[in-house]
C-alpha cells in the first residue's frame, strides 16, 4: 500500500518536474531562439563569476529572481481576491493536464509492473479537455480583477478565442479516437506501435494528417500563442489581460503560458506522433521489418522510450516557438473566422471521412 | 463505502441553499445561479442512486439534465441581457409590472 502510494507520488513528481523544467528551458529557447531568428544576440548580460552560459544564467536564474523581487501590487479599485486568484487559475490547468499523458510503456521492477503514466483514468482525453476548458478562467478573471478597460478587452477577446478553439480542438481529435478505438492515452500510444503494411508505424501523423494540422492550430490558438495572441497583443494592448500584474503573479502567468506549450506538445506527441513509441522498438528490443532484431535489456528500452518522448515534446515545443517568431498576428475577426468557419467544418469533414474509410475497410480499429 | 443517505442529505442541504438564493436575493443573475445550484443538487441525487442501484440510467439522466440546464442558462441569460437593455436594472422588484 505504501509502496503503491510512493510509486504514484514518484510519477506525479516526475511529471510536475518535467513540465516545470521544460517551461524554464523553453523560456531560454524562446529568448535565444528569437534572437537567432531576428539576427541579434539576445539576453547575455547576466553572468555568475563570468559564466554566462549562452544566456542560461540570464533566463533561468536572473529572470526568476528579478520577477520574485518586483513589487507586488493590486490595482486601486481592483478586486483583491480575484486579482490574487487569477494567476493560480492560469497556472493550474497545464500542470494537471500532463498527469494523464504517458511518458513511457511499462517499467517492470521485479514483479511489479508500473504503468509510466501519472494517472490512468478511463476517460483519458476528456480529462484533458475538461482541464483545458478551465484555462479560460485565468484570462477572464485576471482581466476583470484589474479594473482596466484595456485589460478587460484583452480578457474578453481571449476568452472568446479560447472557447471557440476548444470546439475545433475537441472535434479534430475524434478522428484519431475512432482510428485507435479508445479514449485512454496509454492505449492510443500503444496502438501506434502497430505497423501498417508491415513497415510504417501507425502514427497519428500518417493516419490523420488533417486532424493533426487542425489540432495543432487549435491548440496554439487555445494557448494564445502568436499568431493568435491578440488577447495579449503586445503592440496594441501592451500586455492585454495581464498588464496589471507584476512580480510573482506575472511569473505565474508567464510560466503558465510556457507550461501550456509543453502540455500542448505532450498531447500532440501522444495523439499524433506515437507518444513514447520509437519505430520498431518493442518491450524487449528492436524488431525491424526485414527480420533483424536488436535485443535490449528492459531498462534500456524504457530509457529509449522515455528519451524519445522527451525529444518529440522538445521538437514540438521548438516548433511552436519558431511559429511564434515567424508569423504575424491574426486580426480578431480573422481569428474568429478561422475558428468557426474553417477549422470547425474541416474537423467535422475529417470525422465523416475517417468514419467512411473505417467502415469501408472493415478492418475495425487499431486497438493493440 | 459511504452510505447513500449521506449523499441525499448533502443534496438536500444544497437544494435548500439554492431555494434560499432564489427567494431572497434581489439580483436576477444570482437567482439564475441559485437555480443552477438546485439542478446540481438533483444531479448529485441521481448519481448517488445510480451508484447505489448499480444502474447507468441515473448517469444518463444527469447527462440530459446538464444539457437542458445549459440550454436554459443560455436562454435565461439572453433574456436578462435584453431586459437590462430596456430597464437598466437587474432587480426583480422593478420588473414586477408590465409597461403600460
Amino acid at each position: 500500500m505504501i509502496v503503491d502510494l510512493g510509486i504514484i507520488a514518484a510519477k506525479a513528481f516526475f511529471v510536475v518536474f518535467l513540465v516545470l523544467n521544460f517551461a524554464g528551458i523553453l523560456g531560454w529557447i524562446e529568448r535565444k531562439g528569437s534572437a537567432l531568428v531576428q539576427d541579434r544576440i539576445g539576453a547575455n548580460r547576466a553572468s555568475v563569476f563570468g559564466f554566462a552560459g549562452l544566456g542560461l544564467v540570464n533566463t533561468l536564474i536572473a529572470d526568476p529572481i528579478k520577477l520574485f523581487t518586483k513589487e507586488d501590487f493590486i490595482p486601486l479599485y481592483g478586486d483583491r481576491l480575484l486579482h490574487t486568484l487569477a494567476p493560480c487559475m492560469a497556472f493550474f490547468p497545464p500542470l494537471v493536464t500532463f498527469a494523464v499523458i504517458p511518458f513511457g510503456d511499462v517499467l517492470i521492477l521485479g514483479d511489479r509492473v508500473i504503468n509510466l503514466q501519472a494517472a490512468n483514468v478511463n476517460i483519458g482525453i476528456l480529462y484533458i479537455f475538461a482541464m483545458a476548458s478551465l484555462g479560460v478562467y485565468g484570462v477572464v478573471v485576471g482581466a476583470w480583477a484589474s479594473n482596466n478597460k484595456f485589460s478587460l478587452l484583452g480578457g474578453v477577446r481571449g476568452a472568446a478565442q479560447m472557447v471557440s478553439y476548444e470546439i475545433a480542438m475537441g472535434l479534430s481529435v475524434i478522428g484519431a479516437l475512432m482510428v485507435y478505438g479508445t479514449l485512454e492515452l496509454q492505449e492510443i500510444a500503444r496502438a501506434q506501435g502497430n505497423l501498417l503494411w508491415g513497415w510504417l508505424p501507425a502514427w497519428g501523423f500518417f493516419l490523420q494528417p488533417l486532424g493533426f494540422i487542425i489540432f495543432y492550430t487549435a491548440a496554439i490558438a487555445e494557448t494564445r500563442r502568436i499568431p493568435f495572441d491578440l488577447p495579449e497583443g503586445e503592440s496594441e494592448l501592451i500586455a492585454g489581460y495581464h498588464v496589471e500584474y507584476s512580480g510573482a503573479k506575472f511569473l505565474m502567468f508567464f510560466a503558465g503560458e510556457f507550461a501550456e506549450i509543453v502540455t500542448v506538445a505532450g498531447l500532440t506527441t501522444t495523439l499524433f506522433f506515437g507518444g513514447w513509441q520509437i519505430p520498431y522498438l518493442m518491450r524487449d528490443g528492436f524488431h525491424f521489418p526485414g527480420g533483424a532484431t536488436i535485443l535490449l535489456p528492459h531498462l534500456g528500452a524504457v530509457f529509449l522510450q522515455v528519451g524519445g518522448f522527451l525529444l518529440k515534446v522538445l521538437f514540438l515545443c521548438w516548433l511552436q516557438i519558431m511559429l511564434r517568431w515567424s508569423l504575424p498576428r491574426f486580426r480578431y475577426d480573422q481569428v474568429m473566422r478561422l475558428g468557426w468557419k474553417i477549422l470547425l467544418p474541416l474537423a467535422l469533414a475529417n470525422v465523416m471521412v475517417t468514419a467512411l474509410i473505417i467502415v469501408a475497410l472493415q478492418n475495425g480499429t487499431l486497438k493493440p | 463505502m459511504v452510505p447513500l443517505n449521506y449523499y441525499l442529505v448533502l443534496s438536500a442541504v444544497i437544494f435548500a441553499i439554492g431555494v434560499t438564493g432564489v427567494v431572497l436575493r434581489r439580483n436576477v443573475l444570482v437567482i439564475v445561479m441559485s437555480i443552477e445550484l438546485m439542478l446540481n443538487a438533483v444531479n448529485l441525487t441521481f448519481i448517488a442512486f445510480a451508484r447505489s442501484l448499480g444502474s447507468m440510467d441515473g448517469q444518463v439522466v444527469v447527462f440530459f439534465v446538464m444539457t437542458v440546464a445549459a440550454a436554459e442558462a443560455v436562454v435565461g441569460l439572453a433574456i436578462v441581457i435584453s431586459i437590462f437593455r430596456h430597464r437598466q436594472t437587474l432587480d426583480p422588484q422593478d420588473l414586477q409590472l408590465l409597461r403600460w
Binding site: - | P3, V30, E36, Q59
Partner: protein, 162 residues
C-alpha cells in the same frame, strides 16, 4: 471513520460552504466564482461515486462553458449596485430554508443503503454511450434539437436589432 467517509465529509463541508458563499456574497462576480468552486467540488464528489464520465462532463460543460457564459454576462452588464433587503427578511428566509433542509434530512436519513455489485466499467464512457445510443436514443436526438433551439433563441433575444 474510514478514508472514503472522511473524504466525503471534507468534500461535503467544502461544497456547502461554497454554496453558501454563492447566495451570501454581495459581489456578483464573487458569487459566480463560488459557484464555479461548487461545481468543481461536485465533480469530485461524482468521481467518488463511480461516475468519471459525468464528472468530466460537469467540468467541461458546466464549470468550463456555462459559468464562463455567466461571467461574460456579468461583466457585460457590470452591475455595480448592491441590493438592499431588510434584515428581517433574511432572518425569516434563513429560518424557512433551515426548516426545508431539516424536513429533507428527516426524510432522507432513514433511507437504507443497498449496495449492489457494480458491473464492470460502470460509469465509463463506453457504458454511458451504450445506454445513450440504445435505451435513450430518442431523448438524445431531442436534446440536440433543444440545444439548437436554445442557440437560435439566445441569438434572437440578445441581438440589438433583428
Amino acid at each position: 471513520m474510514t478514508a472514503p467517509v472522511l473524504i466525503f465529509f471534507v468534500l461535503a463541508a467544502s461544497s456547502i460552504v461554497s454554496s453558501l458563499l454563492v447566495i451570501l456574497q454581495r459581489n456578483v462576480v464573487h458569487s459566480a466564482m463560488a459557484l464555479v468552486a461548487t461545481l468543481f467540488l461536485m465533480a469530485i464528489i461524482f468521481l467518488t461515486l463511480e461516475a468519471p464520465m459525468v464528472a468530466a462532463l460537469q467540468i467541461l460543460v458546466y464549470a468550463g462553458a456555462i459559468m464562463v457564459l455567466f461571467l461574460f454576462v456579468i461583466m457585460l452588464l457590470n452591475p455595480l449596485v448592491s441590493e438592499s433587503r431588510p434584515m428581517v427578511w433574511w432572518f425569516f428566509g434563513a429560518l424557512a430554508a433551515m426548516l426545508l433542509a431539516i424536513e429533507f434530512v428527516a426524510l432522507f436519513l432513514p433511507v437504507a443503503t443497498e449496495s449492489r455489485a457494480l458491473p464492470e466499467g460502470f460509469g465509463s464512457p463506453g457504458m454511458l454511450a451504450q445506454s445513450l445510443f440504445t435505451d435513450f436514443v430518442l431523448p438524445f436526438e431531442i436534446a440536440s434539437i433543444v440545444l439548437l433551439v436554445a442557440i437560435i433563441g439566445a441569438v434572437v433575444l440578445a441581438k440589438r436589432e433583428i
